[in-house]
């Protein structure tokens, strides 16, 4: 065989092939998806959050991609299951940061994971855009690359505080909270509110998953508070409610901080034990926001008729924020995307979204959306928005029949 002859044929062949390859790549380039990291809890104790958030954003992404995506390119979230564990979230965020095709990170399912992802993102100069993690720490450290669409725990209860001061005027509050970052920050917030307003305050923490909350509830009953406030994730919320009724605890009002209580599974799981409970919420399908009712209908159709809750709405809306950010970005690089996030000003089904700086309780927050929170009440087996009257469409039932007047 004549090697020289073979080689001479090979070289032009290679050029021809590479031309094809290049044109193929050029074609794929225009449909190359825009990817972002999505570390979520898809298994484990908070898997209901992660799995449902994913479902909600997928509804929006399908709509957005059908309408052409961003400049013809579809959005493609890259999901990683963290099991709800901060360590897993940290390694997912590190790996996303190392990938050149990941333009930003979105998520997470708990504040405990959110804070570690925020640290990693800030260190690696990649945007972390959260639609649901609520502990204040994420936006109080001056982290330039961290953006938050949802209100913080210290704001969750603002409508609730407003209602307490205007309508309930309690003399004492007892908080029962789960012992991780979410519960602890809720407790801190309630404690500060009580102190500022001269209200007697007690609290007790529990381990999530302990199944039996009676020792804590016995203490609650003994304290005879006006308001009993729970902060728990779903299954604990159900057992807490059942056991509180079992022990015949009768304050003037039961209230809770959203999270576990806001899921339809909660109302199904407790039956009428939760009648007239109040819960701080960030959103309700019956609010006066354009697109809220429509999103709720889409969600209910895909979820056995269950109404959407704030996490779902925030997840859905965040895809529209992302699309708006990417369309306005000068280039699709991490830095330009950060600048584009900063300039956001969008009306969504979740409410208005603008990332700004402001201070609350003497702490400065950056890149935080200042969204009004609400109070909902379980009326007739459904959560109905009852406060503030400007955006709520229902009326509060108070005093509550069967409890202390």
């Amino acid at each position: 065989m004549d090697v020289t002859k073979a080689l001479r044929a090979l070289v032009p062949a290679m050029f021809a092939l590479s031309a094809f390859a290049a044109s193929d790549r050029a074609q794929a380039q225009s449909k190359e998806p825009i990817r972002f990291g999505a570390p979520l809890a898809l298994t484990g104790p908070v898997s209901s959050f992660g799995a449902q958030d994913r479902k909600a954003i997928e509804i929006a992404i399908e709509e957005i991609n059908k309408a052409g995506g961003v400049g013809g390119r579809p959005l493609e979230p890259v999901y990683v299951d963290t099991g709800g564990k901060p360590d897993a979230a940290r390694s997912a965020a590190e790996r996303f940061s190392q990938r050149s095709d990941i333009l930003f990170i979105w998520g997470t399912s708990t504040s405990a994971e959110g804070i570690v992802v925020a640290q990693v993102a800030q260190r690696n100069k990649i945007v972390f855009f959260t639609h649901v993690a609520a502990a204040p720490d994420l936006t109080s450290k001056g982290w330039d690359y961290v953006f938050r669409q949802n209100p913080m725990t210290i704001e969750y209860n603002l409508a609730f505080y407003d209602y307490l001061l205007k309508a309930v005027k309690p003399k004492s509050i007892f908080t029962v909270y789960e012992n991780t970052l979410f519960g602890q920050s809720n407790n801190k917030a309630m404690s500060a509110f009580a102190e500022k307003n001269g209200i007697k305050y007690q609290s007790d923490a529990f381990e999530g998953g302990s199944q039996d909350f009676r020792p804590t509830l016995i203490k609650v009953k003994a304290a005879e508070p006006d308001v009993v406030f729970f902060s728990a994730y779903l299954l604990d919320a159900i057992l807490l409610t059942r056991q509180a009724r079992e022990l015949a605890i009768k304050p003037r009002m039961f209230a809770s901080s959203g999270a576990g209580f806001i899921f339809p599974e909660y109302l199904k799981g407790v039956g009428d034990a939760a009648d007239n409970f109040f819960t701080a919420a960030l959103w309700s399908p019956d609010l006066r926001y354009a697109g809220a009712k429509e999103f709720n209908e889409k969600w209910a159709k895909a979820n056995e008729g269950n109404p959407a809750v704030y996490m779902h709405a925030s997840s859905y809306a965040s895809a529209y924020v992302i699309t708006d950010v990417l369309k306005r970005a000068k280039t699709l690089t991490r830095e330009a995307i950060k600048d584009s996030f900063k300039a956001t000003n969008l009306q969504t089904a979740f409410g208005p979204v603008r990332f700004g700086s402001y201070s609350r309780d003497g702490v400065n927050f950056v890149n935080q959306n200042n969204l009004q929170t609400i109070l909902v009440q379980a009326q007739g087996g459904k959560w109905v928005s009852v406060w503030p009257p400007e955006i709520a469409t229902g009326k509060p039932i108070f005093p509550i029949p069967g409890l202390k007047p």
Partner: protein
């Protein structure tokens, strides 16, 4: 002491007794396998979990009250126990059999938990029945009917076990096997048969516990871990080889945890229970029931 202080003390004690009753129920199956046969079954909690899932799915599919599902879970778990013993635990031979059974059953527990995870998913599940929320109000104190019933069943089964071991031929055969395997063979006991029947019996009792717990606990594939730990504490605390011991052990653990949680700290509830466990064993190494015949 004010009226409220009295209320707190009484309600705490009641709560402790009722939770203790649950612990008794959880520990009963292990009493037979570990207490009597001295086989370390680290998958005991997973057996209970399995029964809970069976109970849960029967409720979802047919609306069957979990309490009635006992008639399914007990025989089903009996079979599982037999298979475990014949297929795995019974094959362990030699002087290290006891140590190896820990590792083996731990592995079996992992397989069970992860199989359920694969089949049923990681979602936490809860059953809502009128029974789950039924309460007795006795003079200002609250007693959960579900917990009380479970305690009652634990007592009932303990009594039944006691008579079984003391009066029946099979019970006698099991005790003989435990005391001295060779001697039992020599006097005509079918040691192999005794082994898998006892294991099956222990598992069936775990099946009963699972059905009774479904209305009051929430379930997930790894809930077994919680049960296994409590069951071992209960059995050892009560006294190895003592049928009645599980009752003492369960009650002691429940009451100590409850008092500790209310008067010291809820967060350290489990730690207080374990400290008490250690202390009791220091002063009474045979367990609470040592000194009684069974």
């Amino acid at each position: 002491m004010s009226q409220m202080d009295v209320y707190v003390l009484l309600q705490t004690l009641i709560s402790g007794i009722l939770v203790g009753g649950i612990y008794c129920l959880i520990g009963i199956g292990l009493t037979v396998i570990f207490g009597v046969m001295r086989v370390i079954n680290a998958s005991h909690g997973e057996l209970i979990m399995l029964a809970m899932y069976i109970s849960y799915f029967l409720h979802q599919a047919f609306g069957l009250n979990p309490l009635f599902s006992v008639v399914v879970t007990a025989p089903a778990l009996f079979l599982v126990g037999c298979v475990m013993q014949r297929g795995f635990v019974g094959r362990l031979r030699g002087s290290y059999a006891e140590d190896n059974s820990l590792l083996l059953t731990f592995g079996l527990g992992l397989v069970l938990a992860n199989s359920v995870l694969l089949i049923a998913g990681a979602d936490y599940r809860v059953v809502e029945t009128a029974y789950s929320r039924a309460v007795w109000h006795v003079g200002g104190l609250s007693v959960s009917v579900a917990y009380l019933f479970s305690f009652g069943m634990a007592l009932l089964f303990t009594a039944a076990l006691y008579f079984f071991f003391m009066r029946s031929d099979l019970g006698l055969a099991i005790r003989a096997t435990t005391q001295n395997r060779t001697a039992a063979t020599l006097v005509g006991v079918d040691v192999e048969r005794v082994s898998w029947i006892s294991f099956g019996l222990g598992a069936a009792l775990a099946g009963v516990a699972g059905a009774l717990l479904t209305p009051i606990f929430y379930l997930y594939p790894t809930v077994g871990g919680l049960f296994t730990i409590k069951a071992f504490v209960v059995v050892v605390l009560g006294g190895m080889g003592s049928i009645v011991g599980a009752i003492y052990g369960g009650l002691a653990l429940g009451i100590v945890e409850s008092l500790g949680a209310v008067y010291i700290s809820t967060g350290y509830k489990d730690a207080i229970g374990f400290i008490a466990f250690v202390l009791i064993l220091v002063f009474r190494p045979g367990g609470l029931a040592s000194g009684s015949r069974l």
